[in-house]
Amino acid sequence: MSKQVIENLRSTFGDRVDISEHNERRVYVTVSNEDWIPVTRHMYEVEKGRLCTATGSDRSTGIELLYHFGMDQHGTVVNIRTTLDKPFPKIESLTKYYPAADFIEREIFDFLGVEFTGHPDPRKILSSHDRPADFHAMRRDE
Amino acid sequence: MASTLGLILSFLIFPGLLFTAVGGLATQWVDRKVSALVQWRVRPPWFQPFADILKLLGKEIVIPVGAKRAGFFLAPLAGLAAVGVVSTILWLTNLRGVGFVGDLIGVLYLLTIPSLGIILGASASSNPLASVGASREMKLVLAYELPFVIAIFTAVTKVSPMTLRLDSIIAYQEANGVLLGNASCILAFIVCILVAQAKLTYPPFDIPEAETEIMDGTHMEYSGAALAVIKLQQAMMLFTLPIFFITLFWGGLQFSGWNILYTIVKYLIIVTIIVLIKNTNPRVRIDQAVRFFWGPISLIAVIGMVLAILGF
């Protein structure tokens, strides 16, 4: 089912994208920070993928961002992964091209402190107001 | 002197405040019973409305910060007194035939004072939601006053020696048949029922106190005795409006022998109609309500008036 999606990705991005197929309905694609926006825009605009959600996790290698795109016509989930460096993670925001990412990115900023440049409304979304401004629940490097 | 004392007493006790309050609360029980039947529910016990009012009297009155204390309390009291006076006039004309020229006009004016009371009270309570409720109440009053007055005056024109006295209307109806008999007054009666629905702020026109939209809108900030006054005033309005329509269209209240049963049945029919309308449709938006009252309802009222002039 996901063969066709993988061909498209390989044809457009060549070796900048390394694809590992977990099983025929789950594909994990690792991308560098610079190609992040082109690949995610490709997934939304060209492949018509639907951004289910994004998982941010604080791993030893750095802050890992995992955007899950549900491909409804093929019935597969394509996950785009990138790793940001630790103390001050920073990446360009997808909300300008895909409004659905608005709340998702605000949540990751709220709990991981990832700064999304160009996000229209970068406020915290879930933490309570009496928390200190730089309090990020998911960060564990302090 | 004795007659003024008698009048004051009759205002305070017999047909006035106390009697109407008891009658209104009993009618509210009928309202709850009918809606419980429609919704497959068991109705609350007969003393429920009385328990509600008694409990509210025992509660603490919370005054919101920044509320204009005088307007906040006096406005509902004015509404309560107005409904009391209307009920006294109606009952006196029906029982003792005591009336004065233009008491019909007086009743019409007094029936709008409760709405004004609620508007003043809500805007005095300095709460944004209550002010939205007050502005909605104003729009609603503007919407239904026009057809209401036209409908009342179709009854007046139908009465051959055009009079503005309630007791002469009743006398005319005793002489030559109930006004509801002819077409024009049936239209006027329908208009009056729908306007009563809006005056009582029952669904589908309970927009000013929409519980789920603006949290009980107008009387949101009231609590304790102040809220009891408002609930009492609504109950008394539910009691007096049907009686007002009976005196105008259905030959007044007669209490001689078999007629008592006939009057009670007439009264219950009107209350059941109002409650059934309440339970069978949702709340309309304020602009739909205004369009509804100025559109079709005013048209019906005007047609009724024209028919009355032509003589049917």
């Binding site: 959600t53 709340f103 | 919704q39 944004p128 939601l129 589908p204 949290m215």
Partner: protein, 390 residues
């Protein structure tokens, strides 16, 4: 001049404490903003301290109405990571309970929508027809909701066979009552007046805002996970996805009402050809890796991602409920509508804010940071560190 109308945090129309501020000019709404976070219970921190079995149990408390969908999605995610599938009987049983939950969730919404537009009778009737569904759920799983019944590899308890004829009869009654309710609701001019042409969400906006479930299907977006990526026993039953093109409140209501009839069809087919056999595949060992499980919950797709590190506890469990993506979709809907419509618009996505917030903290080197104080102390240290370095 625009005043701000607060709706919430404690408001009869919202089941949960959400603070929505409407910028209002007279009666028309200019814009609306929502402040979430009042139910944020740090669910994902708790998930990282639970074993896989307990995780399915914990995840049911995300939201009272769609508890089966969250625990099924977690079970699917764990099975995806472990590479083990459920037994056929378990797949059918899971589908039956999930569709029963869709019935009770949609009927609950019909009642609440009736309550919001002031129609008490629809509210009472809707919830009266919902009670037999809850009794059926209680007969199968032992509780009205929060079933504690889904677990990785299958289901916990089997269902005696003499239960099914009774449930089949209830399903027929439910279908007749729903048809009657649909007839009563859809041709009542006043309800149509309140719902038709109000709060329109175009198909492009629906896709752009990533809306899910009935909210998206009401705007013509033809997505339904049960058909796109069949899990459970949906592939073996024939049913069709309800899509309405015009995207106003009426379309979304019609989608939900007709979906109930589809669910009844699915339940009946699943009961008829329910296979025998084992109800659970024992999952001995979950290797290091990642697993994704997503399920079509009554309000849309609920998405669960689990990363395992070989132990029997998830290292990272990301949960996202459908309402989180449905909430932004009311901004295009609410512009230009009146206040009374604004509340109906919030209710149209059947918001389940409890789903929307779970979030968590950390547990890398065994140093468990559980309560708030440690976190605050840590953040203070960080601020001092920042002040020194900048």
């Amino acid at each position: 001049m625009s005043t701000t109308i607060p709706i919430g945090p404690f408001h009869p129309v919202l089941e949960e404490p959400e603070y929505i501020t409407l910028q209002v000019d007279g009666e028309t709404v200019l814009s609306a903003d929502i402040d979430l976070g009042r139910i944020h219970r740090g669910m994902e921190l708790l998930a990282q301290e639970k074993t896989f079995d307990q995780d399915c149990f914990l995840v049911e408390r995300i939201c009272g109405i769609c508890s089966a969908s969250h625990s099924w999605a977690t079970a699917l995610a764990i099975e995806d990571a472990a590479g083990v599938g459920p037994t056929p009987r378990a797949r059918y049983l899971r589908t039956i309970v999930h569709e029963l939950e869709r019935l009770h969730s949609h009927m609950l919404w019909v009642g609440l929508a009736g309550h919001i537009i002031g129609y008490w009778t629809v509210y009472m009737w809707g919830w009266k027809y919902r009670e037999p569904v809850l009794d059926a759920l209680e007969a199968i799983t032992g509780n009205r909701n929060n079933y504690a019944w889904y677990c990785p590899g299958g289901v916990r308890r089997d269902v005696p066979d003499e239960l099914w004829p009774e449930i089949m009869k209830q399903m027929d009654e439910f279908a007749d009552n729903t048809n009657m309710l649909i007839g009563a609701v859809l041709d009542d001019p006043v309800i149509l007046g309140r719902l038709k042409g109000v709060g329109i969400l175009t198909k492009e906006d629906a896709i752009a805002y990533g809306t899910l479930g009935p909210t998206a299907r009401g705007s013509g977006v033809d997505i339904d996970l049960r058909r796109d990526e069949p899990y459970g026993a949906y592939a073996e039953c024939d049913w069709d996805v309800i899509v309405q093109p015009d995207g106003d409140l009426l379309a979304v209501s019609v989608v939900r009402l007709l979906e109930m009839l589809e669910s009844v069809k699915i339940i009946k087919q699943c009961i008829q050809n329910l296979p025998g056999g084992e109800i659970r595949n024992e999952i001995r060992e979950v290797p290091r890796g990642e697993g994704i499980g997503h399920v079509e919950a009554p309000r849309g797709e609920s998405f669960h991602y689990i990363r395992t590190n070989g132990t029997n506890m998830p290292e990272r469990h990301k949960m996202r409920a459908p309402t989180f993506l449905n909430i932004p979709s009311y901004r295009p809907r609410v512009k230009g509508e009146t206040i009374s419509d604004a509340t109906v618009i919030f209710a149209i996505i059947d918001p389940c804010y409890s789903c929307t917030e779970r979030m968590a903290a950390i547990d890398p080197t065994g140093k468990r940071i559980a309560n708030g104080h440690d976190l605050i102390k840590l953040s203070h240290q960080k601020t001092e560190w920042l002040k020194k370095n900048i």
